[in-house]
Amino acid sequence: MDTLFNSTEKNARGIPQAPFIENVNEIIKDPSDFELCFNKFQERLSKYKFMQESKLATIKQLKTRIPDLENTLKICQSLRNHSDEGDESDEPILLHYQLNDTLYTKAQVDIPEDRADLKVGLWLGADVMLEYPIDEAIELLKKKLADSEQSLTVSTEDVEFLRENITTMEVNCARLYNWDVQRRQDLKQAQEGTKNLKI
């Protein structure tokens, strides 16, 4: 039994593939092992489902985060390009920012003489904000965006893999259950046959 579970391959993240039961009789030699075997399959199935929920939550979070990163990167690049638009365009940037939910007001950003000296603050999370020179900020955001997109790809792949495995395990559980039902019926018929013989 454990040999069956350990014999399957694993995907790139170490998620084991679900074994498929070809012949139930080969798995369960002794009928009294049914409960143990069935519980193990149920346990594996619930693990897959739990992992799927976790991955789906990750995907949801990334789908929220990636647009924000793209937006932030676009703003930084816009600032940088504005800084490089020639020596004559030394005028400050005017922008509207959100003061509250439905309220906006104006602010201006002065562009320093040395374009690379422009600094921005990036909110990193966990109540941490760091100030970066504009070029470093752009590099950091690009890296974060690439990492997030890769994470999204990987998580999506994992969710597909888990979905397949969940289907396989559900089929396995159904076949085990049906096997047990059939066995009980056969046993019942045999008992009735015995009673009839006695009578």
């Binding site: 924000d68 003061l99 509250n100 602010a107 990036l122």
Partner: protein, 163 residues
């Protein structure tokens, strides 16, 4: 309310329970509405406070970190602290002076206040209904209990007379 009136004293406990549950559901719905109104009112009040703070005399040209996006802040300074852009809904934004913006939000707050008062009145009314139905349920249960007691007594009398 429906035009049909029901005499609560003539309903049995099951029917009274059903009516009470209906009132409790309505009560919960109105309570949630009141909470939503309170939250909205809080936000608008915050906007008014923000406008008053920013439009103070000393804040023209005040330095600040401009929130350019949800996670990006740029050092900058306030320009024209007497003008504000207000989202008036359906994708339209209107630039208003500080006084006009405050009046706009105050108007919204007043409207929400009025609606809150209405909902509070409804909640009180339905709470009273719910309590009175509860009292009726208790009385109906007592009546049922008395009726069963009488039946038992009559049965005992019959049995004793038969013996």
């Amino acid at each position: 309310m429906s035009s049909q009136k029901i005499d609560l004293t003539k309903l049995n406990p099951e029917q009274l329970n059903a009516v009470k549950q209906q009132f409790d559901q309505e009560l919960q719905h109105f309570t949630q509405s009141l909470q939503a109104l309170t939250m909205a009112k809080g936000k608008f009040t915050e906007c008014i406070d923000d406008i008053k703070t920013v439009s103070q005399a000393g804040n023209e040209g005040q330095k600040l970190l401009v929130p350019a996006s949800a996670s990006l802040y740029i050092p900058g300074k306030i320009v024209d602290n007497k003008k504000f852009m207000v989202d008036i809904g359906t994708g339209y934004y209107v630039e208003k002076s500080a006084e006009a913006a405050i009046a706009f939000y105050q108007k919204k707050v007043d409207k929400l206040n009025k609606e809150s008062v209405q909902i509070q009145d409804i909640i009180k009314e339905k709470t009273q209904y719910s309590l009175s139905i509860e009292a009726q349920i208790r009385q109906a249960a007592i009546r049922q209990h008395e009726a069963m007691s009488k039946q038992q007594q009559q049965q005992q009398k019959k049995e004793s007379s038969t013996a």
